[in-house]
């Protein structure tokens, strides 16, 4: 524990801390470009120079380990002069195009030049010009602005795990590029935009659409996967202009996936902005009253058993709670939130959570992945696994597909047979799990949405119990969800009640006529052709798959347009906040259900505002009030031991960029799908 003096203040820091970090502990700000706390140290920008007593010249604080009795000065004339010199060098070739640069207003170079820049240049020579580089549909480059900090190179190599960016040439001719200017094939590539301290790498979809200071900002959570990445939604007027990550060490650190960052243009297209009613086989625009009347005419008088409801991937907790209450009032037990038909057991909470937590991956020392491709199902979790793997002592086994992950793994087998072998101890990977202190298993939806899903779940539980994954302070049993709504739905018990039908039963019933009314709440990932005969009420934000056979369409809100609760795959309760209002006549989802309940006989719901609804949820679900927290779940018995099938596991996500109605409406995601997914051809990640 070295103790050093920084600007006259004594601080004691952990062994291995750098002088720059020690300065931060002492509350002293040190300017920097290349240094980033989540990347390796490069020490090439020289902006962080400080003075160390007894050292002959200024030292680069980012690369200097803090040592005992060091005396550091950061505010001497020498330090200021040194930094001004560095800044002058950086600005030799940096263009003065801030007024037309998208980074303007949030640029490290711009900010730091205020403190360390000279008023005028002493150089008369031409600035160097560098050709723009193509890096894919997401990253816009203006390489003349590049100051060669190599943050993007290090990010691609270390965090994203795709070594595709590099610095070619040397000296003045050094240029940052991807190999042969191909698109970067990472699901996390957008983060280089945030990392770039200047305007060399900026967002292509956001280019020239807004200046950072004219945007309003709302803190929210992402719903494109079940990770619940913390985001900041930047909007202007009624338009979402961009989405940025928000720091949360327990979930997404400071990264977000490209889908989270760039799918926002899907919020503006293909929207349902008014109710529709089907008349004579054609949908026509209608008023809310007409839409409700059409539903009342069909539903009132119908026995509850003939009514069913399915909650999809983008349904928020409040809407599901309201719909569940409504269905109960109507006497229906036919409700299900497991739109994909996963054989998850809602009665044991630990059976469907990512129990180890995302941050808990850091503590694990062996991992078995079953029927999941974390790289495309949850890129943030995949990056966390990679981070753990890079630290060493982390064996990973995969059962299922053989995807190109960003870490090495032992491929154990394709199907349930291998899972059985591991469970019974007959497989060599069993020894790895046995020898581990904190082993963990990740079960993907690909292993659970099958006919033998319950048996797979039981086998996974057996593995967890056999190999000491369940212990004091450690629960290594993890289910990786792909839908933001799923854990919330299961927590609420949005599953068939006594004698009720599940998703498969509802679809079959709709086909046979046993179910006459189906209520789809943001449910699009279904075989809707089976709903042909039934009276379908679709409530959602986009005219996507779910509206094809809809008889009444109720326009709901997308995640940026409502105050809603989301529970991520870990079981962490998070609040999403409204940035803009829903378009046209669209409304927040729970209010639609509340208003509809009024016209349905015996359906009336007893809450008139969000607070009352949340109190109602909290009564049934005490942990829903523990916002941003995880209430750990009790272990129990779940799954049904039974015969395992032979079919190999396959990830449920085949087209990473097109998993929900918002992405499917997004041009940016369509382009990513066209440009980046073929790059994964043959690795099991293409559709």
């Amino acid at each position: 524990m070295p103790t050093l003096t920084i600007d006259g203040k004594e601080v004691t820091v952990a062994q291995g801390t750098t002088v720059l970090q020690a300065c931060e502990v002492a509350g002293v700000e040190v300017p920097r470009f290349c240094y980033h706390e989540r990347l390796s140290i490069a020490g090439n920008c020289r902006m962080c120079l400080v003075e160390q007593e007894k050292a002959p010249k200024p030292i680069a604080s980012c690369a200097m380990p803090a040592a005992d009795n060091m005396v550091i000065h950061t505010n001497t004339p020498q330090v200021k002069k040194a930094r001004e010199g560095v800044m002058e060098f950086l600005l030799i070739n940096h263009p003065l195009d801030c007024p037309i640069c998208d980074q303007g207003g949030e640029c490290d170079l711009q900010d730091q030049s205020i403190a360390y820049g000279k008023g005028a240049s002493r150089f008369h020579e031409n600035k160097r010009a560098v050709k723009e580089k193509y890096m894919g549909p997401l990253i816009k480059t203006v390489m003349t602005r590049c100051i060669h900090c190599t943050r993007c190179v290090r990010f691609a190599e270390e965090v994203a795990g795709v070594e595709e960016i590099g610095a070619i040439g040397r000296g003045e001719h050094m240029e940052i590029t991807t190999y042969l200017e191909q698109a970067m094939t990472s699901e996390l590539s957008g983060n280089v935009i945030d990392l770039c301290p200047v305007g060399a790498l900026t967002s292509k979809p956001y280019a020239f659409t807004a200046r950072s200071w004219e945007l309003e900002k709302v803190e929210s959570v992402d719903v494109h996967d079940a990770v619940g990445s913390n985001i900041r939604v930047d909007f202007r007027g009624k338009e979402v202009m961009r989405v940025l990550p928000r720091l949360n060490e327990d979930i997404n650190q400071e990264w977000i996936s490209d889908k989270t960052r760039f799918a926002y243009d899907g919020l503006k297209r293909n929207r349902l902005d008014r109710p529709y009613v089907r008349e004579n086989g054609k949908l026509r625009e209608a008023t809310w009253a007409e839409a409700f009347a059409a539903i009342a005419a069909r539903v009132n008088g119908l026995p509850g058993g003939k009514i069913a409801a399915i909650a999809g991937d983008l349904a928020d907790l409040e809407a599901m709670a309201a719909l569940k209450d409504l269905m109960a009032n109507l006497g229906s037990a036919n409700i299900d939130c497991r739109q994909d038909g996963a054989k998850l057991d809602a009665s044991v909470r630990a059976s469907y959570l990512f129990n180890s937590t995302i941050a808990g991956i850091d503590k694990a020392d062996a991992l078995l992945i079953v029927g999941s491709n974390p790289r495309i199902e949850a890129p943030i979790i995949n990056a966390r696994i990679r981070q753990r793997w890079l630290n060493g002592g982390f064996r990973i086994g995969v059962i299922g597909e053989r995807p190109e992950l960003t870490y090495d793994y032992d491929y154990l087998g394709a199907g349930p047979g291998t899972l059985g072998e591991v469970a019974s101890g007959g497989h060599s990977f069993a020894d790895v799990l046995r020898g581990a202190k904190n082993p963990m298993i990740i079960v993907g939806q690909g292993a659970l949405t099958r006919a033998d899903g319950a048996a797979v779940l039981a086998a996974a539980r057996e593995i967890a119990e056999t190999y000491g994954m369940i212990g004091e302070g450690w629960n290594g049993f993890n289910v990786l969800h792909t839908a933001a709504s799923r854990v919330g739905g299961l927590d609420l018990g949005f599953v068939p009640g006594e004698g009720g039908l599940d998703v498969g039963g509802i679809l079959a019933g709709a086909e046979s006529g046993a179910v006459e009314v189906v209520y789809l709440l943001h449910a699009d990932e279904l075989d809707t052709s089976k709903l042909d005969k039934a009276f379908v009420i679709y409530q959602g934000s986009h005219g996507d798959n779910g509206v094809k056979h809809a008889d009444v369409i109720l326009p709901g809100a997308a995640y940026t347009e409502k105050n809603a609760t989301w529970i991520n795959t870990e079981g962490r309760v998070q609040l999403g906040n409204r940035a803009v209002f829903p378009p046209g006549d669209a409304r927040e989802d729970w209010t639609i259900i509340r208003a509809l309940s009024e016209v349905l006989t015996g359906g009336k719901l007893p809450y008139d505002n969000l607070g009352a609804l949340r109190r109602r949820i909290a009564a049934a679900l005490p942990h829903a009030t523990a916002v941003d927290d995880i209430v750990s779940a009790e272990w129990g018995s779940f799954g049904e031991a039974g015969p395992l099938g032979d079919a190999p596991f396959a990830s449920t996500v085949t087209q990473h960029y097109l998993t929900n109605p918002i992405c499917r409406a997004s041009y940016t995601m369509a382009e990513c799908h066209a440009v980046i997914e073929p790059a994964h051809e043959g690795t099991g990640t293409h559709g």
Binding site: E163, E164, G166, G169, H173, T178, L180
Partner: protein, 201 residues
């Protein structure tokens, strides 16, 4: 990346080491401990360049990347960093004339002029018959024998316009000019023979 201006050319779609090259390749790879094969990247690039007539096609970068388990961009970074690797085609005789200060003071301008006139090309160009590429380069480390030029693997030193023309004419005629100092001097010894340490014990 050298400063050779190539006329439009086609990158070969594939590259393969010949059995002889592969033998050398394996010898270099074997020098490094397991898991550290990437250390062999520079000799491998050189072998590929020699096999391919003096320049390194993109396909070779990929082949070497595969061979050493290196991402392509990492191999490309190395290949583009060092000026000794040519990423565009060069002539059979790659003439590099040093024009850094010591050579320049000793008359590298005349050497360069002689090359231009003799070969009919300008700096960075390749002659129409594909025999010669002329390039001005920075210091090649033979300042004591300035001015000098490198053709292929050989240094030709203590040049003037005449000796430069003679060397190039020899090459054009298919003769092999003698490398080293082109005046009366042995290696880097003084002109006209040693001036000290003349007696051997």
């Amino acid at each position: 990346m050298s400063g050779v201006h190539a006329a439009p050319f086609v990158q070969p779609a594939s590259f393969e080491f010949t059995p002889e090259s592969l033998e050398q390749v394996n010898r270099h790879i074997a020098k490094y401990p397991k898991g550290r094969q990437q250390s062999a990247v520079m000799p491998l690039l050189d072998i590929a360049q020699r096999q391919n007539g003096g320049w390194l096609p993109e396909a070779a970068i990929r082949v070497i990347g595969e061979l050493l388990g290196m991402p392509y961009i990492r191999v490309y970074e190395v290949a583009s960093f060092y000026t000794m690797y040519n990423l565009v085609p060069v002539g059979r005789h790659f003439v590099q004339v040093c024009t850094t200060t010591p050579c320049w003071l000793r008359g590298s301008d005349q050497v360069m002029d002689a090359c231009r006139q003799s070969l009919g090309v300008r700096n960075g160009q390749t002659s129409a018959d594909g025999q010669f590429t002329l390039l001005e380069v920075e210091c090649l480390g033979a300042c004591v024998n300035a001015p000098m030029m490198q053709i292929g693997d050989d240094f030709y030193e203590d040049l003037d316009a005449d000796s430069t023309r003679r060397i190039l004419d020899d090459l054009k005629a298919g003769r092999a000019p003698t490398p080293g100092p082109q005046i009366d001097r042995v290696n880097a010894a003084p002109v006209g023979g040693p001036t000290t340490l003349k007696e051997t014990a």
